[in-house]
């Protein structure tokens, strides 16, 4: 018995104690009918081979460890960015439990959302009654200013008519006739979470703008897209707009609701784009989206109202931020102020200070389509060499766009782009064509374990590191953050591989 009160052993150390090690060995030997160790080793080695890679890439039906989630997750993400808005997902209730858990694990925040709790009878008769009761209950209990309805795949498969259901619920008095209940169909079997963001954003804008006369003004609209760094990013964008003196509306500002203080009060709603501003946003002269692939339908809709539309690809780094700011300056006529120019110079300075350590390092990266474009551009700017760029929810169009970016730089020559592939594909890539570093979300740690490629955590979700979502990756300040995260891992690796006394520690330098 090794447990003790002076130093309580939990799972990290308890099961490494001899009595547990022996117990688990015996369990395996006597009861598990396990494959022989040699066989496991043989297969493990085979999975590292080119032969395995080819069979792995020949997959047509099976998906293993994908880097994408389903539409309604994006719907909830977009909805909570509006003032006092309760997301209402029409369909099975288990889905909502999953979205809430997923967001809470990433943001370390409460995530409020309700379901219409459809069960077997609703599958047969449709979910109208669930909508009627659900809206009435949610409205009475949680006193929202708006309820944004989206769907799970169950409601989509049986073909529930959201628009009709909401109208009927209003007639039945579930919510007042003039209460805002925008809706979007968000089938899980189409696209991914970024599609759900897009559909919901379009649904909300349509709800407020449809049939209204547009009188153009000088404001601009800003849309962030589905973004794990939304807390840090939106605050940074507001700061930059403030410095420029831009009159703007952020559509779906969830930076407060996912960063509420611990001061004794639970805020189910906090901050968010006001409904008044959302209505008035129709009159803006332009809408800027930071993530093209997360806002495709939204931007088409917005353009059709007569607004100018600018679509960026999750800008990270110097040139991408330059482009963003210059677009803002062009549209608004407000010049980029000296303060931001100095910040730019500081980021350039930081890159100059550190690029020797990044230059020529090989990177693999995976994640949402726009994030991949943003990070790739920054890596090229740093003189790093991306080798594998993979996106489970990126398609042909995305692939062409990344290739064009790679073609624009000598550092992109040796890189391949993988659309609609998963992390089991990435595993084969890392074994057969190794790189120095991997950039991805928390699930990348399994690749790090299996292939030994150090993981730099950038993406969504990040469950196993805390608080990074509070830092921006946009703007020059954001670029600096990303630079530091990359550098920290590079330096940690340098130290880790040079710390063997009398073997490698001549390079264990204190100045780098």
């Amino acid at each position: 018995m090794t447990q003790n009160t002076a130093n309580v052993l939990d799972h990290f150390n308890l099961f490494r104690e001899p009595e547990y090690v022996e117990m688990l060995e015996n369990k395996k030997k006597n009861f598990e009918d396990a494959h022989p160790v040699e066989k496991v080793e043989e297969i493990r080695d085979w999975t590292k081979s080119w032969e395995y890679r080819e069979q792995n890439f020949a997959r047509e039906a099976l998906t293993v460890n994908p880097a994408k989630a389903c539409q309604p997750l994006g719907a909830v993400f977009a909805a909570v960015g509006f003032e006092g808005t309760l997301p209402f997902v029409h369909g099975s209730q288990g889905c909502v439990a999953y979205y809430r858990s997923h967001f809470s694990r990433h943001f370390k925040e409460p995530s409020s959302c309700v379901s219409s709790s459809m069960t077997e009878d609703a599958a047969v008769f449709g979910g109208l009654n669930n909508m009627i009761d659900g809206l009435a209950n949610a409205y009475a209990m949680y006193k929202p200013k708006m309820i944004a309805v989206s769907t799970t795949c169950m409601a989509e498969v049986i073909g529930d008519d959201l628009k009709g259901f909401i109208a009927t619920a209003k007639l039945k008095g579930s919510v007042p006739e003039d209460f805002d209940v925008p809706h979007a169909h968000t089938p899980a079997f189409v696209g991914s979470h970024v599609t759900g963001y897009d559909n919901t954003m379009r649904g909300i804008l349509t709800h407020f703008w449809e049939g209204k006369e547009r009188t153009p003004n000088e404001k601009i609209n800003f849309i962030g897209g589905f973004d794990g760094y939304t807390v840090g990013n939106l605050r940074e964008v507001k700061r930059m707009f403030g410095l420029m003196g831009v009159d703007y509306t952020i559509l779906s500002d969830n930076s407060d609701v996912w960063d509420t203080p611990a001061d004794g009060e639970f805020r189910m709603y906090d901050g968010g784009t006001t409904l008044e501003d959302t209505k008035a946003a129709l009159h803006a002269k332009a809408t800027i989206s930071m993530q093209e692939f997360s806002t495709e339908k939204t931007l088409t809709y917005t353009a059709n109202t007569g607004q100018e539309v600018v679509a960026l690809n999750h800008p990270v780094g110097v040139a991408a931020t330059d482009k963003f700011l210059m677009e803002v300056a062009r549209i608004t006529g407000k010049p980029v102020p000296l303060a931001l120019e100095k910040e730019r110079g500081r980021l350039v300075d930081a890159i100059a200070d550190s690029s020797a350590h990044i230059h020529g390092k090989k990177f693999a990266l995976y994640g949402d389509p726009d994030l991949m474009l943003g990070l790739t551009a920054f890596l090229l700017e740093l003189g790093a060499e991306p080798v594998h760029i993979l996106s489970t929810n990126g398609g042909k169009e995305w692939e062409i766009k990344v290739q064009a970016l790679l073609d624009s730089s000598p550092f992109g020559k040796a890189c391949h782009v993988y659309a609609n592939k998963d992390l089991w594909h990435m595993r084969s890539l890392l074994f057969t064509e190794p790189v120095d570093f991997l950039i991805g979300n928390t699930y990348g740690k399994y690749l790090e374990r299996d292939t030994g490629t150090p993981l730099i955590r950038i993406g969504f979700p990040i469950f196993d590191r805390h608080h990074y979502h509070r830092y921006p990756v946009w703007g020059y300040q954001g670029g600096l953050n990303v630079l530091v995260w990359i550098l920290d891992k590079i330096f940690d690796e340098m130290d880790r591989t040079t710390n063997v006394p009398a073997k490698t520690d001549f390079s264990f330098d204190i100045i780098r």
Binding site: N4, N65, P66, H102, Y139
Partner: protein, 486 residues
């Protein structure tokens, strides 16, 4: 301000009345049946704590419950390590449940073990329109090529499967035959079935009966002993089954299977040879225990390995099914760990004495952990089940004190209001609730995942449990939530 039992009861009644006021009339009537105050001795031994349970959640109220898929893939089947569990349908369900439950296991992931992986058929629109059976066949073929050491496959149905009329049973049967009798289990755990995770447990149990037990080779060789037991209903969260197993082995028993944490298909197949099934999570695995009792004549006994009082009673209860050798073994184990438990209590009880706790969890925990808190001098003043049935509430009688507030399938609103008014020193619930209460300044521990700590089962686990409750309640941060100038 310590209330008498009668004062507590009337406070709770008033509180229930108050929260019900927010609801539309129909919902208030429904929810009223799920909220109550435990009245000791009032309804006799069969009391269900005065609440209704295992019925549909009300739409729109923010239930904490999950679905049948979560009960089958997430709970029962998912931890079986050497089989591949396909999340069959769109990508989301498998993604959100991917490695989220901390079912620890020993194995080479991706080679001979697959628990922390996400295998999905990633349904697209065409699969919905034309059906997914062909795709499923192909998936199984691809699994056989790329993961040759897998010992079986389960098909965990997501909502669309049952709605589009796919025949996963036929596909599974065909492929099982093609692969020489490989275990391939179609599971009809579509999320819209039933009212919570609970039906998923039951469905999963039934598929073990139908696709594992009923297909067993009658000539299968297994060298049994008179002391063979199987651990049923321990998912090895943070290693719980391991810190339980060690005690059973130390008392002289031979644990031939773990269901299902760190479990393997071979262990499932061995289980009909057990002399006794020891059942931790009654809710999720009573079905298969009853089946084994009926079909194989294996008795089963419920046990509780949270906190020394319950562990001690449970070890004796388990031993009572065996001869003196095991009974002595149980006493030896109890004696061996006494010094440890006394030291844990001596260290932590003074820091936790009199602290109050409100729980809302699933499975067995709303009752099972009460004893562990009491061993530390703490009082559970409110508890409820996410997906419990009547028989869970009946079993809760023996655990709760007179006047305890009971809330079944609590809504986000109710839980927030109850905690706000009762102001317990600790809330134990899940990830969705954690941050709500921490914002309110109330110490919190996740009692599904052990807040990424654990194990909490067994004597080794009790030390960790005590440390964690202490670090939550006596965290200096709770003194900082109010700005000093306010």
């Amino acid at each position: 301000m310590s209330l008498t039992v009668e004062e507590t009861k009337s406070r709770n009644q008033a509180l229930i009345k108050e929260v019900l006021e927010v609801y539309p009339a129909k919902t208030a009537k429904n929810r009223a049946k799920h909220l109550g105050t435990f009245e000791e001795g009032k309804d006799g031994a069969k009391s269900d704590c005065g609440v209704k349970s295992n019925v549909k959640s009300v739409p729109g109220v923010m239930t904490i419950r999950g679905c049948a898929y979560a009960g089958s893939k997430g709970v029962v089947w998912g931890p079986i390590k050497d089989m591949i569990h396909i999340s069959h349908g769109p990508v989301g369900c498998g993604q959100y449940s991917w490695a989220a439950r901390r079912n620890y296991y020993i194995g080479t992931t991706g080679i001979d073990s697959f628990v922390t992986m996400q295998f999905t058929s990633d349904f697209q629109e065409k699969d919905i329109v034309f059906g997914g059976d062909k795709k499923l066949e192909k998936i199984m073929d691809e699994i056989e090529v790329l993961f040759p050491l897998n010992k079986g496959i389960t098909v965990q149905s997501e909502c669309p499967i049952g709605l589009i009329g796919d025949d996963i049973e036929a596909v599974s049967k065909k492929k099982s035959k093609e692969y020489g009798g490989k275990t391939i289990v179609p599971v009809r755990c579509e999320g819209f079935r039933g009212v919570s995770q609970s039906l998923g447990h039951h469905i999963a149990n039934d598929t073990i009966r139908d696709f594992v037990f009923d297909k067993l080779d009658p000539n299968r060789s297994f060298q049994g002993t008179p002391y063979d037991v199987a651990i049923i209903g321990d998912y090895n969260i943070g290693g719980d089954a391991w810190s339980s197993r060690i005690l059973l082995e130390e008392m002289g028993l031979r644990v031939i299977a773990q269901w299902s944490g760190d479990g393997s298909i071979a262990e499932l197949e061995n289980t009909p040879k057990a002399k006794l099934n020891v059942l931790h999570c009654y809710r999720s695995m009573n079905y298969i225990s009853r089946h084994m009792e009926e079909k194989y004549g294996i008795p089963w006994v419920e046990y509780n390995f949270f906190g020394p009082s319950k562990i001690e009673a449970s070890l004796r209860e388990i031993a009572s099914h065996f001869d003196d050798k095991i009974k002595e073994g149980a006493e030896r184990v109890i004696a061996k760990y006494r010094a440890l438990t006394e030291a844990v209590i001596a260290k932590y009880r003074p820091r936790l004495e009199g602290k109050t706790v409100m729980l809302f969890v699933g499975g067995l925990r709303p009752r099972h952990v009460i004893g562990a808190y009491e061993d530390l001098g703490m009082n559970v003043v409110g508890t409820g089940y996410e997906f419990g049935h009547n028989d869970d509430y009946e079993r809760t009688n023996h655990y709760v004190k007179d006047g305890t507030l009971i809330y079944d399938d609590v809504t986000g609103y109710e839980f927030e209001k109850f905690v706000e008014k009762i102001q317990p020193d600790l809330v134990g619930s899940g990830i969705k609730e954690k941050y709500v209460f921490q914002k309110m300044g109330v110490p919190f521990r996740q009692m599904h995942s052990w807040d990424y700590s654990g194990p909490y089962h067994g004597y080794d686990g009790f030390g960790i449990f005590a440390r964690d409750m202490d670090m939550a309640i006596n965290n200096p941060v709770w003194g900082l939530t109010k700005a000093p100038w306010k």
